[in-house]
Symmetry: C2
């Protein structure tokens, strides 16, 4: 599939010949603009028009089948209802790719959806790859191949960034921001309705494109999340991928179980993207700023890379420090030897720690940067100086520094147009990113650091499914759910499952008091609400009262029994849940338990399967993680046992394909281990 996808997309995105169906001689029409946009294209262009002989200076043909060659690509500039026939004809003669820029399909109502279903059928029945409909198309500045009618794209320069955007408008937005940042574009694709070619397809294609050095991805929603996750997981081993997922504000979907409530779709998407090694940003400008940071390459994989800050002005340096520390980026203290070396190059009274404040910008910046780069704790350097050509020649400084520094460098600056632009151009042509503001510089260096952390995580992670292939019997009530969890190593307090009062009395005698008495009934999912849970039962009388109350719960009691269970010792409660996301597949959620914490939604989410390293990171992500480390003098809980339990739940989700939802709430954590105090499983119909 992969090699076939790449070859197919190569005809779509790197055509030698292009036909434009619906070509027009009228300059105001899309059919003209599409032909005109190809004026710099270095291959053949064939306008198709039943009547014309010449369009935009090129010989025109009446129909696709009249062409002297089968074109690699066809651009459809005809209305929605004419697209089906044109696309069918293109597929028939063996065209490689097609782009439908126009709208009027699924986004516009039932009639459009019917048309879209028809073009989808055409695509499924052929090897032709379709981009769109309802997109601004794509642009490839290196070959002048602009399958896009907006004149702006003619100005774009070729370069290392490729863009994939769900929206054609955002594709152009990102491309323009890259252009303004003087970051050239290899390929920029707007997916539109994505009837055939989708984000995963293009990412896979770009991962294997040697000239694409970094990939920017814009997502509005993810239909086949697991496939995208798999493709991204591979792509990020080859080059950095920066993703802007829109939809923070979307209301969480209201699933049945409450772990479903905690797990909003956007949170799952962000977790999956990070887990796949992508860098997640929250603004179009940040995507471009993160991308340009990789001009000089990636930081080698490392658990916690350190950043050195060199600044000519203390205030902006402080802003960079604040931005990096707020994003959990390590700005380490420099070694005494480093400080001693730096102090040789600077006047006294300057701050020589990290940040290194030079007091004023000066040519000595290069020496300071080189000295800082020799500190073993420094994996990247960000330097800030206002653009003052009279005080500092930034290009000369960085050229000199670059020779002696292996680590990535980022220059943050600010100045007057016409002056700072020249500096930026020169530096970036030497692969040194130059960004205009302290915060934008911080975004770039943070992306380098996040990428190195993600690569490191991958190196030390193996996500194997221990229980793969194992046959799992459906657990329908709490007792059998706990038994199944026990098979996966997650213990519960000692208990007895009882069918009647006699068995309950016997069980009560055998267990340590107090016990909890619960209803066992596969029809009752929410036991507490109906009076099916009785805590702190110490005496025979209390037991008898509890059993009577359980018997009094309305409903069919033919399958009803009792669970008599020892009370667990106190500790910290977590929620451990899992569910099968319709897009991303098996997901695991770990959160802080207790009423207040649930209201605060302090949770971390991952896709299954999981490695222990993943779970360590999940624990760090919990805002309330300090509770686990010995809060206010309490003993620290057994983190290893928590990690085992979370990995086991991921494993169970992988092994039991028909397990739809799983909810351990609470998972009681103490210094001696963890126990599932309640367990609910929901199976597919």
């Amino acid at each position: 599939m992969s090699a076939q996808n790449i070859a197919g997309l190569d005809r779509l995105f790197r055509p030698r010949s292009i036909a434009v169906v619906g070509a027009s001689a009228s300059e105001s029409k899309v059919g003209y603009q599409l032909v005109d946009a190809l004026r710099g294209f270095d291959g053949q262009v064939f306008p198709i028009n039943p009547k014309a002989t010449q369009i935009a200076g090129r010989q025109s043909y009446p129909q696709l089948s009249a062409l002297p060659v089968v074109p690699d690509l066809v651009l459809l500039g005809v209305p929605a209802n004419a697209c089906v026939d044109a696309l069918t004809e293109a597929a028939r003669i063996g065209v490689g790719g097609a782009v439908i820029v126009g709208g009027g399909f699924a986004e516009s109502g039932p009639d459009g959806a019917a048309l879209q279903a028809q073009i989808e059928r055409v695509c499924k029945g052929s090897s032709l790859r379709l981009l769109g409909p309802n997109t601004s198309g794509y642009t490839r500045p290196g070959t002048g191949c602009h399958a896009c009618f907006l004149p702006t794209v003619q100005q774009f320069a070729a370069g290392p960034l490729s863009i994939v955007a769900q929206s054609g408008g955002v594709n152009l937005t990102l491309a323009l921001l890259a252009h303004r940042q003087r970051l050239g574009i290899r390929l920029a694709v707007g997916l539109g309705n994505a009837v055939d070619v989708d984000a995963a397809d293009v990412i896979e294609y770009l991962a294997h494109d040697p000239q694409t050095k970094m990939i920017g991805l814009h997502l509005e929603g993810v239909a086949e999340g697991r496939r995208l996750y798999d493709v991204l997981s591979h792509a990020t081993t080859l080059k950095p991928v920066i993703v802007l997922p829109v939809g923070r504000a979307q209301v969480a979907d209201f699933a049945q179980s409450h772990t479903g409530n905690l797990m909003g779709q956007h949170a799952v998407t962000v977790a999956a993207l990070r887990q796949a090694g992508a860098i997640v940003v929250d603004a179009t400008q940040s995507l471009v700023d993160a991308a340009v940071g990789f001009l000089g390459g990636r930081i080698a994989p490392k658990a916690n890379p350190g950043v050195g800050i060199v600044t000519g002005q203390a205030g902006p340096g402080l802003i960079i420090l604040d931005a990096l520390r707020s994003a959990a980026v390590n700005v380490p203290t420099l070694a005494p030897a480093t400080v001693a070396e730096i102090s040789k190059h600077l006047p006294p009274l300057t701050y020589l720690q990290n940040p290194i404040d030079t007091g004023r910008p000066s040519p000595l910046f290069a020496d300071v940067m080189v000295a800082a780069s020799r500190d073993p704790a420094i994996d990247a350097i960000i330097t800030f100086a206002l653009d003052e050509p009279a005080a500092i020649d930034a290009v000369a400084v960085f050229e000199r520094a670059r020779k002696d520094i292996k680590q990535p460098l980022v220059f943050a600056t600010l100045g007057l147009e016409g002056s700072v632009d020249v500096t930026q151009n020169k530096l970036q042509s030497r692969d040194i990113p130059a960004l205009e503001s302290p915060e934008r510089g911080a975004v770039a260096v943070r992306a380098l650091v996040d990428d190195a952390k993600a690569q490191y995580r991958r190196l030390i992670t193996t996500r194997t499914v221990a229980a793969a292939g194992r046959v799992i019997a459906r657990a329908l009530d709490e007792a059998s759910a706990k038994a199944l969890l026990a098979e996966f190593g997650i213990r519960s307090p000692r208990s007895r499952s009882c069918r009647n009062e006699e068995e309950a009395v016997t069980a009560f005698d055998q267990l340590d008091k107090p016990v909890v008495v619960k209803v066992l009934d596969p029809r009752i999912a929410h036991k507490t609400e109906v009076g099916g849970v009785h805590l702190g039962v110490r005496t025979a009388d209390q037991l008898s009262a509890a059993l009577q109350k359980i018997d009094a719960i309305p409903g069919d009691i033919s399958d009803r029994g009792y669970l008599i269970e020892e009370m667990a010792s106190s500790g910290i409660d977590l929620i451990l849940g899992a569910r099968r996301d319709p897009s991303f597949g098996a997901t695991v959620l770990l959160g802080l338990g207790g009423t207040e914490a649930e209201a605060l939604k302090d949770v971390s989410i991952r896709l299954a399967p999981l490695d222990r390293v993943d779970v360590e990171e999940m624990l760090r992500e919990l805002r309330g993680s300090a509770l686990l480390d010995g809060w206010r003098g309490a003993p620290a809980v057994d983190r290893d046992a928590i990690i085992d339990a979370v990995v086991a739940v991921a494993d169970l989700m992988e092994a039991a394909a028909d397990l739809r939802e799983l909810d351990i709430n609470p998972l009681r954590c103490t210094s001696k281990g963890v126990q599932a105090l309640d367990a609910l499983m929901i199976w597919s119909d």
Copy 2:
């Protein structure tokens, strides 16, 4: 003070004559650059140099006292150790203001601190106002008055934005970003070490400057927070103030080295700024983007203003919607009549709700915007369109729309340099903000909305101190603290304060069981940790055991007694605390109680005194506020009682000047009211 401050700063910031002490004929020296920077100044300039006769084309004088007039302003271009004498001389002859740009003062160590103390004494003993030391000075493009040696400032255009920055480097950063945004500058001030003139002084001055339309403020730490709060509270009634407070992360070490200021508690600073009606941003670019949003004026005060989004491209429109909704900005559904009106101007199949997606940019934008503006729910409109001169003339569209629309408008766009710049220039000269990216447009419109909300809050708020002037006796143990709280209307469960076992037994008989038995001892602040709290005491034997354990707590027992208190019914626990911040004065904290929530630090902070409106907002700020509204079927708690209690605590802090800290933890909240279950008060020595 105010009128005097304004008059004094007017001589500093609007001088008619300027002397430069340390003027030099050598172009590489600051003493030359300071004179040269005044080449466009429309007043008198006097270089001071004992030897020269002519500097930078101007007649030079040997000393200040030799000048033909007493200058309004003196710029000191001499080393730190020469500044004391020069400043003393300036003060003696009646100079109005001085600027020390150089460093070498408190930021550089003990010797510099001593010099700084000397110049501080000179300022205190005269009416001269000093800016600096250790600053880039200030720039005032309208009069060519650049008390700043950086050549860049010569390019700045005059306009409506004034800037006050703690750091000289950030002052220039903000001014350059404003310049790049084509937003002109009225006055841009870098405070540096702020020996005399501080942020509050300049804000007060700018509040009364008619040409300053919006104020941008950068803070690294706040020494006199309460004064700044008071000044800002007034300034924001007159014009919008946008603040960038640095210090989210732990950056205090470096900050201290840089301006000599101690970094305040960031959460308190942010709370105080918002409470004062300022708009808080987290990046330099955002400060400028928020400021430019006010070019067309403010939104009238309103509880929850609505924003209309008109977009030529759906994807960027969705990004704007997401950014606004994430920031709790109301993007309301349009009225059916509005949709009907809009539909007249657009082709079918477009999305006519909010956002209004026009499908493609077109001249019809103006009609759509006008129709949207007539919807009563719409208080501001943001329009996005990529810069496509062939498809849309944005200037013509907005000129037409502006005529019929009263609400503020924001244009978000993106295009090629040289094209979009022209549009931006033309629109902004017509007071229509134009920002380059969807998110930057969202920042501008969000600022308009946040400002209108803050103004509205002020209109409906009266922060009076009900207990002002009342004499408060110090409460030293829990019983007396609860008695004092009761005087302020905050009840506790029924209890008896007992000196000995006999009284305890009597009290136990009189109270409803179970009770809690606690140690009463002003020397014991943390009762639970030493075994001084015994819950659920139901029998005489349990009482006796509890009393014995309390007696066994080590230490002097001469003042020790018992508090016997009825157990409260269950509910939601809050933490209600107050403390006297060294910078901001009395602060009140409301947070979610319980171990987990405390670890999650879900708190809201305000300065006392408080209005009920403030507390309603504090409750909304709590991430876990849903717990109060009937969580999972529980009855909603009595919000009014919570609000009463918080207002009362603020009142108590205002009334009892020697009450340093107060801690009600927990404040038990039920549907029937609130009760302080524990209370701790710490008084000043």
